[in-house]
Symmetry: C2
Subunit: 490 residues, 2 copies
């Protein structure tokens, strides 16, 4: 057989790296890359021996709050358990354990969904869930109704983003503007869709990250001069990884920028509930667009994974399409429908989070207490982290206005850069690997050097509170030693 002959020549596989396209091979999703691999190795060794100076790993590389000990909301899990197993509703004594409002809500939801959560929903999601989402949006923005038919639910925000980019990028020459630094899902998906990432720099000034229309204009002009057909702008607000919270004036400028340059706006607003600075508040791009009476084409993404709810594993999310051409919207929704429907469990989770108990209901006290505790812990951590990083050698850290991350900037010596080169690693990865080996803290390297002597890393602010300060102090020891070890001789 041909196959046998080829086998003898050692080339018996048909499907190999060579047969896979470059657009796939070069799609890099750094959050789950080499550093995590190393961490997994260390994790396995930790079970067997004590060769590391720490007892356990601290997964500060991802916004994964429940992994780090954050408790799920009682309201959400009680409701989900009833919708999952409606027989619980008939159990004697349940009424004394579950408040009446969550029992009522679950019955209401079960009543609206034929066949329960084991049946496929409409492709866009249950109508009852999309109505709740629309009501939430309406109350959040106070600028008129949102239409449930403009909402499409997906398994987290990631598939919404994927569908949107797949529909927008049509040729090798199509470009999407992205903040630098950005959440690496965007570059990975643009690469996968054979489009071009057009980065615009975030400004870092006086301890704050900010968006600059000037930088955006510069990036756009450069790309258009290079012949790139720039079609859309991604704005992440509150920022990932930079944590900035945009104010309305800044947002109006972004809207005008998109209008003037005929760009679609993709607003990643998954951290809308994560604001830590007292003088900051979240404003949606939808609100700004409607207030400006603009007809800017806007996609807004939201997720069940972040906020104070932090239900990452459940995979709930949605996109809202505003001012999008009807036929184009139909194509987007058709793309979404190829996967039949999003997780019904995720949809119900989204409903419970966005339509929480009201102050007069029995679940309210617990709900508001849990919500407040989670958000105030995050705020405390954000402040502590900002303060502590700024005491460490050669580190500066901007204010963490929102989202879930700090993005400290590290200035390194020539000697450290040389040592990284010798280890065949970029300097940010070199540093992050060393930190991992010495402290057990898993960080995400984030390159981003306008200045070749500096780099950034991303660290979540959600480590369990009790050990959080110790964790940061062990990191301080590592960092200060690192800079001593690689100090340039003067």
């Amino acid at each position: 057989m041909l196959r046998q002959i080829l086998k003898n020549f050692g080339s018996n596989k048909v499907f190999t790296l060579n047969s896979i396209g470059d657009h796939i091979k070069s799609a890099d999703y750094s959050i789950r890359g080499e550093v995590l691999k190393k961490a997994q190795e260390i994790g396995q060794e930790l079970c067997r021996s004590q060769i590391y100076p720490f007892k356990s790993l601290a997964a500060c590389n991802m916004g994964n709050p429940q992994y780090l000990g954050q408790k799920p909301l009682t309201w959400v899990r009680q409701g989900l358990s009833l919708v999952v197993n409606p027989e619980l509703l008939d159990y004697p004594g349940l009424i004394s354990q579950y408040p009446s409002d969550i029992i009522d809500r679950s019955k209401y939801l079960l009543n609206c969904i034929q066949g329960g959560i084991g049946a496929y929903s409409d492709s866009a999601g249950y109508h009852v869930v999309r109505e709740s989402i629309a009501k939430y949006i309406e109350q959040r923005d106070s600028v008129g109704p949102s239409n449930p038919n403009d909402i499409f639910t997906t398994n987290g925000a990631s598939p919404s983003i994927e569908i949107t980019l797949t529909a927008i990028i049509d040729s090798l020459n199509d470009g999407i503007m992205l903040p630098i630094p950005q959440y690496s899902l965007y570059t990975a998906l643009i690469t996968l869709n054979k489009g071009k990432s057009v980065g615009y720099y975030m400004n870092s000034n006086n301890g704050f990250w900010s968006m600059s229309i000037e930088e955006m204009q510069k990036a756009l002009s450069r790309a258009r001069n290079d012949g790139v057909n720039v079609k859309a702008v991604v704005v992440i607000n509150p920022g990932n990884p930079t944590g900035q919270v945009l104010d309305e004036e800044n947002m109006k400028d972004v809207v005008r920028f998109c209008e003037d340059n005929r760009l679609v706006l993709l607003a990643d607003e998954v951290y809308q509930d994560n604001i830590y600075m007292p003088d900051k508040k979240f404003t949606s791009f939808r609100k700004v667009v409607i207030q400006m009476n603009s007809d800017l084409e806007l996609f807004s993404f939201h997720s069940l994974s972040k906020g104070f709810y932090g239900e990452c594993g459940i995979r709930g999310g949605y996109m809202e399409l505003i001012n999008i051409d009807k036929q184009a919207k139909d194509e987007i929704f058709k793309l979404g429908s190829l996967m039949i429907c999003s997780s019904t469990f995720g949809q119900i989770g989204m409903e419970l989070v966005l339509n929480p108990p009201s102050p007069s209901q029995p679940s309210y006290q617990t709900f508001i207490q849990e919500k407040t505790e989670i958000l105030s812990n995050l705020k405390k951590n954000a402040e502590l982290m900002h303060a502590l990083f700024n005491t460490m050698d050669n580190i500066t850290c901007n204010y963490i206005e929102g989202a879930m991350y700090a993005m400290p900037c590290v200035r390194v010596s020539k000697k450290a850069i040389q040592a990284a080169k010798n280890a065949n690693l970029p300097v940010d990865k070199f540093y992050v690997m060393k930190a991992l080996e010495e402290t057990g803290i898993i960080l995400a390297p984030f390159g981003y050097g306008q200045d070749p002597r500096t780099f950034h890393f991303r660290i979540t602010i959600m480590s369990p509170e009790e050990s959080f300060e110790d964790l940061l102090l062990s990191f301080k020891v590592f960092n200060d030693n690192f800079h001593k070890q690689y100090k340039d001789s003067t």
Copy 2:
């Protein structure tokens, strides 16, 4: 502003149908197309008035058992509810309501997953779940161990199929062989990935659907003569929509065909638990490949949506990669990891279904009773449907060996073809629309005419048993009238 000026010319949208690629616009997913739209309209009218001769719609267009009244398995929903809300484990009295084995299993699973289901799992899925899947595969096939590291969990089987096709199709000229008729997800995804669908006909002989290597060879030769670079073959077993269950001899031929022609095999095995004919049994391609000592590159897809469990909305599924080049596997898994991880809830559901209670455990009796009842109902329906369709004018229906559908063949008059033409519809859609308006039964039109005077439609066998015979009898009235109305004058 430029935008204002353009607006005055009526062309103010940036993102329109014109800016969307043809590969997207022509990706057609017929299961959820025009017929369903019409059904939704009728559904809304049914609430308001009595203009239709039926009281409710029967959604026989999709394999969606719980939507049609099938009850979820107690074992699965009890386990899921505990994993969703572990506080239930502390409730007094739970032990008298839930058997001890499901309590133990839930505790075991919760113990294995850090942070519970609200935390992201590994991209491929929890290790404990992949171990269970591997154990299930091992016991199913009895040809040696399966490796948890070759398994990747996804939200249903659809994303597994999407990821695989995305990785395999690299140029406009790459082709994937598909059965005709086939499950439309495949053509939609191939179109979306800008590849070429290379159809091979299923044979319909003596009341049975079967696969013919001769037809496959014909289709392959034709495509290769046309310059198509055929890379893989999709086999759906048990068949969707054709319901055939392949025997081992036939499968060995398929494996040899793939080997000889250097093709990767994509085995869609989501109906592996749905077999209705006493002399048939499911054999996995993995088993055949290993028994033949072949190194054929094989992807196998499985899902939580079908079988006797029918948990469609939950979105659980996985793929197993067998004999796949290590680096190519890494790329496939990386593609999967872009969506971070599959629904943890779906993963747990998969674990509970594939690792059910053993005969000595307290949940076993209920589990086996529910399983038997569901499967025997499906079997009864399959037999009834096969018998009844064959009493209807101009309809022939093959045996339903497995899966969840009948695929009756309808022979129509020239007059009916002309009437469809006048209504500007293909004749299968014309017939299916009429059936919908007159009986409330939603069917999936399936064209597939090697003979221009015949077409097929797909109908699920899972309508609720009580009304199932009535439903089929009302359909018989419709069908027989249809053929009377459009009888050619002789």
